[in-house]
Subunit: 360 residues, 2 copies
């Protein structure tokens, strides 16, 4: 081996990630990823950004989300298939890679199904800290599926939410959410309609999964001073908010070129005024300016949030000694001689070493 | 486990791929992948295609190449860093995934560093079968790096090339190529310039790696009836052929929207006439029309070729019982209850089963 750069990749499987999250705690993971997201959003101009690529089918969508700064590249693979649960599969599944910009070497391959749930909740909390009323204590959660517990904990830990008003068209989903929140100290009320859940809430979080132009929240439901955290509308043809609601509110987005295609604002003209959240975090643009203002975070999920989550998970895995090293890339005795490596079985076999290890 | 769909992913590491290729043979792998490419190119209109996304830095580029048909989605991660060999790393490293369009489940995660070399050579041979003179026996190879042996074997096995004229600015590269070709039956001649290598060749294959606007082959070197297999110019700012040579030849490409950005034709106006190769393979457009015609395959590498290679490697691995199953996606007792899985360590630990297995 003449190699001076490592050719192995740290691998975090879904079970290993579950162990990592269990040891750190869900609340701590969300808070730490929120800190990474906030930090990275302040460096927004340093990133090479693009709207994600999406391959659509009648059943769902598969997306790739790349982003890089001067030293680190990441991408996420993520699907959205609302009917997957009938097959025993999650609606959203994901994994991703963190790589070295200087060489292209993939340094980390990680599950991102659990991690996407954490980072989506963290992103919502980062936005709400800038946009919701500081005295917000009551949050409605419309759609009580796989993302709902993570949002509840994020808003409890990072916003001070104490009470949840819950609605789902499937009462079993709400029952699952309530069971999972036992012991968190959160108060909750199960509601029988969206309108009832939204009534009196300081923050309204929408997490519906149908790939359809839905109108979950209408202008009549909205009260002065509300912050809407609209997470479910994230795909062409998949919306949650009535267009008039958007017109009457102040709308904030992650990355405008992507949100105009995928977010609730896809219903509005391309010149509809929105503010990119990083501008608010950096102090370039105002967030909420008065207590009666209605704010909307039209969240679709942007690659930078996965960049932040991947670097947190890499550091946490190294700290805890979790993960194994895999040979995704060949270790070549002579990197100019790829063909020769195919005829040196001993040399390639020496690469089969796995076990806990650090990203160099 | 209530899951009815498998949540494990077949994983082919670089050493396992080296074993697979060793057992099948390089020539057989290239021939089989060429057959898959030809078959898939005939189904061209059935694919959802896009130009790859590229993140550029001063040292190189990292690209994502997604594509899908109605049932199968694939993507490849690939870098290009010409100075990597100084660090003991390959210039080009790659891996990829094959997934189920109906659910988004990643079914195969595979190394693609070796496989990219095989599929690039296979693609060149598929193009040359349609474009080179059938009596071609002599091929020049300009650039004798990591891709050169694969091209030599592909053209020997699939085109009937018997003699190579070799040139590289680094004589050690040529010596490596010649050593690796021992026992193949190929005749070779080491040349001291590009012009000498090209002289008298039926086919000219250019495989240079510099990320620069180079002019490796000029119009004066080109003889009537030649086929140019231009593989190295595959990135904005990275070219190999003189623009006048392109203007005087018949130019064929993989996917025009991508090649106009990345290929040698980036030097020419956006309306420069080119023919997509699939049109020739399908009989919609002529390839070579007379013996004196100069043809150019301005190859940049398109996602469909990786789609073809991934499905071949999946089938070969299953046939040979190679690979192991990994838990990239969590196996959830209740797919609607992601949060609950984080509090069931026993359930997630049961997923740690690995070993040879088939893609379901």
């Amino acid at each position: 081996m003449h190699a001076t750069a490592p050719t192995s990749t740290l691998y975090l499987s879904a079970p290993v990630m579950a162990e990592l999250i269990g040891r750190k705690g869900v609340g701590q993971c969300i808070a730490s990823i929120a800190a990474c997201i906030h930090e990275d959003f302040l460096r927004w101009p340093q990133f090479e950004k693009s709207a994600r690529t999406a391959n659509h089918s009648s059943e769902g969508v598969i997306e790739l989300m790349p982003i890089s700064d001067a030293t680190t590249y990441t991408f996420k693979y993520v699907n959205g298939h609302p009917r997957n649960t009938r097959l025993g599969l999650p609606t959203v599944m994901a994994f991703g890679v963190l790589a070295d910009v200087a060489t292209g070497m993939p340094q980390l391959l990680s599950e991102l199904t659990y991690t996407t749930a954490l980072r989506t909740a963290a992103m919502s909390a980062v936005a709400a800290r800038a946009l919701a009323r500081p005295d917000s204590r009551v949050m409605a959660i419309v759609g009580n599926g796989a993302q709902s517990e993570f949002q509840a904990l994020a808003f409890q830990h990072l916003l001070g939410i104490t009470t949840l008003r819950l609605f789902d068209i499937d009462p079993a989903a709400t029952a699952k959410l309530v069971a999972n929140l036992e012991g968190t100290g959160l108060q909750w009320m199960a509601c029988t309609s969206v309108a009832e859940a939204v009534r009196g809430a300081d923050i309204v979080t929408t997490l519906t999964a149908d790939k359809a132009r839905a109108t979950i929240v209408t202008p009549a439901m909205v009260e002065p001073g509300m912050h809407l955290n609209a997470v479910g509308g994230d795909c062409p043809g998949k919306t949650e908010l009535h267009a008039d609601l958007l017109r009457q509110a102040s709308v904030f987005v992650e990355y405008a070129p992507q949100t105009r295609v995928e977010g609730d604002i896809q219903q509005l003209p391309a010149d509809f005024g929105v503010t990119e959240l990083w501008q608010v975090l950096a102090g370039h643009q105002p967030g909420r300016t008065h207590a009666a203002q209605v704010t909307v975070f039209d969240s679709v999920g942007f690659a930078l949030e996965d960049f932040s989550a991947l670097r947190y998970m890499r550091d946490a895995a190294i700290e805890l000694g979790l993960g194994e090293r895999i040979a995704l890339i060949p270790a070549l005795a002579d990197p100019k001689n790829l063909f020769g490596a195919l005829h040196q079985p001993a040399a390639t076999a020496s690469q089969r070493v796995t076990g806990p290890g650090a990203v160099a």
